[in-house]
């Protein structure tokens, strides 16, 4: 009984630390200029606002087309915020920084 409580707490702590880390996934289709721009924009933005607590995963749908179904990807490039919850999607080359920040809820975080 006691043990289970312990593990639950451990889990929630772990979850807490995970929630601190932003898990971002960028879907691209090959090395297109739009994808490159999007990745560069994302990198810059994260360094600026989420230094040290983010992780970016780039998924190339040209190589793994089956992955498009899972995250309901239709537009390229698409940035998916897996964590923290809730799931957010931002489509486009992320050149409009204001909109990306709103989309990621970083605008409020900064204030």
């Amino acid at each position: 009984m006691n043990k289970t409580t312990q593990t639950t707490r451990e889990k929630s702590e772990k979850l807490q630390s995970e929630q601190d880390t932003w898990e971002l996934r960028l879907y691209v289709a090959g090395q297109t200029p739009k994808s490159m721009t999007a990745f560069a924009n994302l990198k810059k933005l994260c360094e600026e606002h989420l230094e040290g607590k983010y992780r970016i995963e780039v998924v190339d749908l040209m190589k793994n087309p089956q992955l498009a179904k899972g995250d309901q990807i239709i537009a390229i490039p698409t940035l998916v915020r897996k964590l923290p919850q809730p799931l957010k999607k931002i489509i486009g080359d992320l050149s409009n920084t204001e909109r990306v920040l709103v989309g990621l809820d970083l605008r409020s975080l900064k204030q």
């Binding site: 289709a29 739009k34 309901q72 931002i90 909109r99 990306v100």
Partner: protein
């Protein structure tokens, strides 16, 4: 159907892809354009998704063409459930890699647009889906949902244009569905991009009765039917029924078939109706129309021909029971599958839908004889022109298939009997009229043939009796007193019989009298003769006596002379 085919001018037309949907391939003259996208548009709930799904399922099951269904609205599970009622097992087809279901869900609330993008993701998904099962067919249902999820319309339009181009290059036959817009075929003008073939579905309600219709708006490079065709969605999917007037080129039969009433056959030139003709039986209520129809049905079944009976007034069991009371047992035929009584209320659907339903049933049951009892009830649900057009198409269809059709028509007692409701009589080959004849306080049924094309037929009125052994036709009394039927006929006949008996008796009596006279005269003759004989005998007797006396006298004289020789004085003694 036939006129569509006859219109085909270019044999080297574009390649077609059979949809497998009943009737659609006929009106499109072989299917939708192969390797090209086709737009199917219509209002909500008109059957777009179902048509698209049936196209895929039939392709997978009948033509060995796997298909991808990309749904932008319903999830794969919902789709599978929705079409399961039509006998399509999507999960099974998906498991056998015949169908690939992909649900594209766009949640506008969780999407933010920030900068330039394209729909390459969708292309990749579709491409992956097509390649994974080697699909030949693709359905996008309905891609216009993208306009709800994404705000940049310029990008969307450019990408849609690219998508349809890409589909063509990919060589898949695609159906793209679109919701109908105000004044346009689709809400977002998809018809701009898909211009090879456009099919419009419609579900109209007229007088509380809805009818689904399908029309080919456009079909580049192909002949196609241009009418609006009604279609059905039932437990076997969609069936489009191109029932147009097929013209008057059908072959006619010289074969004659019995009406089931021997006396009526005699009236119809001795042999009955022509096979493949249309027969109208009109009369006021209770004149025995259904009974004549039942006779015909029974006769058909006895000949080994199937009969389809459309009852618009009575339930099958009621018809069976009522007909049993006049000695026609239809039940064995129903059980043997020779007779099918299809009973439905006319108001249940529109006229077109009735036609479609009848057409479908006739195609399935393949009867030789069709009975529509009564046709008047159909007339009540449509306008004059609709009814006439519907009936002429039905009759043409039946004639083309050499099916003999019998229609009953309830006429109103007030109007002239010869007037059928909507001039349908001109469509009929044989017209029997049943009428009430009111004489001497009773109503009797009379039957006569108003017309019967192509045969010598009786012009006589027959009295029509419903007995427990079926219909009996008897001659009416035609005499100085006019036409008499029923009791009046019987009493008149009785009177005549009495008169005849009296007359015969009179003759007999006269004969007997003459005989008596003859006998009397003969006896008189006998008496006279015997008198005469008696007289003659007397005469003879006298003559004899005379002779004897003479002899005796002569003897005496000799004796005397002998005696005188001895003594002359003895002469005084004698």
């Amino acid at each position: 159907m036939a006129n569509v085919k006859s219109n085909v001018k270019s044999p080297e037309g574009i390649a077609k892809c059979q949809t497998g949907i009943r009737g659609l391939d006929e009106i499109t003259d072989g299917g939708i354009p192969k390797g090209r996208p086709t737009l199917v548009c219509g209002n909500a709930g008109c059957g777009k998704t179902l048509l698209a799904m049936e196209f895929l399922v039939r392709g997978a099951a009948q033509y060995n063409e796997p298909g991808v269904f990309m749904s932008f609205e319903e999830s794969s599970e919902e789709l599978a459930q929705n079409v399961a009622s039509l006998g399509f097992d999507l999960n099974d087809l998906a498991a056998r890699k015949k169908i690939y279901l992909d649900h594209v869900r766009i949640e506008p609330s969780e999407i933010e647009e920030a900068g330039e993008y394209d729909l390459e993701g969708l292309f990749i998904r579709l491409n992956h889906a097509i390649d994974s099962i080697g699909a030949k067919r693709v359905v996008l249902d309905t891609i216009e949902s993208l306009f709800g999820g994404l705000t940049n319309e310029n990008i969307l339009r450019a990408e849609l244009r690219r998508l349809f181009h890409w589909l063509k290059e990919k060589g898949v036959t695609a159906i793209i569905t679109g919701e109908r817009g105000e004044g346009t075929l689709t809400r977002h003008g998809l018809e701009e991009y898909v211009s090879d073939c456009v099919i419009l579905l419609d579900n109209r309600v007229e007088g509380q009765i809805s009818t689904r219709r399908l029309r080919i708006v456009k079909y580049r490079g192909s002949a196609h039917g241009t009418n609006e065709y009604p279609f059905l969605i039932d437990e076997k999917g969609i069936s489009v029924l191109p029932i147009t007037s097929i013209g008057l080129q059908h072959d006619v039969s010289t074969e004659r078939i019995s009406s089931g009433i021997p006396r009526l056959d005699t009236m119809l030139g001795g042999e009955g109706y022509y096979r493949g003709s249309s027969i109208l039986i009109s009369g006021t209520a209770g004149t025995g129309k259904t009974s004549i129809a039942a006779h015909f049905a029974k006769a058909a079944c006895s000949r080994g021909e199937r009969c389809l009976y459309f009852a618009f007034e009575e339930a099958p069991s009621q018809i069976t029971r009522n007909m049993r009371s006049i000695g026609i047992d239809l039940e064995p035929w129903t059980k043997q599958g020779m007779l099918d009584i299809y009973a439905v209320r006319p108001t249940i659907y529109g006229l077109e839908m009735h036609l479609v339903k009848m057409y479908k049933l006739i195609n399935e049951f393949k009867p030789k004889v069709v009975i529509i009892d009564p046709v008047t009830n159909l007339i009540a649900i449509g306008s004059d022109t609709e009814v006439k057009s519907m009936l002429s198409r039905l009759i043409d269809f039946l004639k083309a298939n050499q099916i003999t059709a019998l229609f009953t028509n309830l006429s109103h007692a007030s109007g002239p009997l010869e007037l059928t409701e909507f001039g349908i009589s001109s469509l009929m080959d044989t017209w029997l009229l049943l009428r009430d004849i009111e004489i001497g306080g009773e109503r009797n049924r009379g039957l006569y043939i108003l017309k019967s094309r192509g045969m010598a037929h009786s012009n006589q009125i027959r009295e029509f009796l419903l007995t427990d052994k079926g219909i009996d036709l008897v001659d009416v009394y035609l005499g100085p007193a006019g036409v008499l039927t029923g009791a009046a006929r019987i009493s008149q006949e009785a009177k005549e019989k009495v008169a005849e008996i009296i007359h015969i008796e009179e003759i007999e009596r006269k004969k007997r009298e003459l005989e008596r006279k003859r006998v009397a005269i003969e006896s008189q003759i006998t008496a006279l003769r015997s008198e005469f004989e008696a007289a003659q005998e007397e005469v003879n007797k006298l003559t004899q006596q005379e002779e004897m006396q003479e002899k005796a006298l002569a003897g005496d004289r000799t004796e005397m002379m002998r005696l005188r020789k001895a003594d002359v004085s003895t002469k005084n003694q004698s």
